[in-house]
């Protein structure tokens, strides 16, 4: 059986950033998933959610939970990433001062998402948007 959740994200709406991650955390707790796994999932998802809020116009988060893994797909409409290799480098950032005031924008998000995931895919098209696929296995 697979559980499926979907959340909308508004670009620029920092007051709501983290809402989806918080809901996912609640669900995983109810499912008695190992807290260490939950932390990896929600840290990765929260970083990705903040990225959409910080850079895109809008986005959708899809979360699929089955007995083996948690799969998260974030699809946004936004400026896209012109050089993914560079964006994956620790410390590289195009964040605005507003994003930095929120405590982010240090160029650590994408590397940290990758670190916390077992499978990580990123696709982006300039002027269209970015798609992120994150998988964390429940049994480590």
């Amino acid at each position: 059986m697979t559980m499926h959740f979907e959340y909308k994200i508004e670009g620029g709406d920092f007051t709501r950033a983290g809402y989806a991650s918080s809901q996912v955390k609640r669900s995983l707790k109810q499912l008695n998933v190992d807290p260490k796994v939950i932390k990896r999932v929600v840290v990765a998802l929260y970083e990705a959610e903040v990225n959409v809020v910080a850079h895109a116009y809008s986005g959708i988060i899809e979360v699929y939970i089955d007995t083996e893994k948690i799969k998260m797909i974030l699809t946004d409409k936004g400026p896209g990433i012109s050089n993914i290799e560079l964006a994956m480098e620790m410390g590289f950032s195009t964040a605005t001062p507003e994003v930095r005031e929120m405590g982010f924008g240090a160029g650590m998000g994408l590397p940290n998402i990758k670190k916390n995931s077992d499978e990580f895919k990123i696709e982006s098209e300039v002027g269209i948007g970015t798609k992120l696929e994150i998988v964390v296995f429940i049994k480590q």
Partner: protein, 127 residues
């Protein structure tokens, strides 16, 4: 001199109520969790750094008083945030604090002083 030869005894666990008392802090949310014990502290205004912390039983000292500090703590399983430099907890932050059960403490000290006090009383650094 290696880390073990320091004169400070890092015996580990400290109750959140002791943290509040040592820092002359005001507990504005989560008073019911004040007897919880913690082992580590991390001081940062950059939430991206906080999200890389792997340890458990950590408290966060920060001057970043916004909703994202609470969200970051929530995702990182951080049970208590100390807001240093006299930063105030807003109504939105209080609401989120109540929801997530995170202990929120307002503290008049600088981050350096607050960190120093907790360190010298045995709270451990995460690295």
């Amino acid at each position: 001199m290696d880390n073990n030869s320091t004169s400070i005894k890092h015996s580990g666990n400290m109750k959140l109520k002791d943290v509040a008392e040592m820092l002359n802090g005001r507990v504005v949310s989560g008073i019911e969790h004040i007897d919880k014990e913690v082992e580590f502290a991390f001081s940062s205004d950059l939430m991206s750094d906080v999200l890389t912390v792997q340890k458990d039983n950590v408290i966060l000292l920060t001057g970043l008083a916004n909703v994202q500090a609470l969200r970051t703590a929530e995702m990182s399983d951080i049970s208590c945030i100390v807001f240093v430099r006299n930063k105030k907890v807003s109504v939105d932050m209080l609401k989120l604090g109540k929801e997530s059960g995170i202990v929120l403490i307002e503290c008049p000290s600088s981050m350096f002083r607050a960190s120093g006090v907790l360190f010298s009383n045995g709270l451990k650094p995460v690295y």
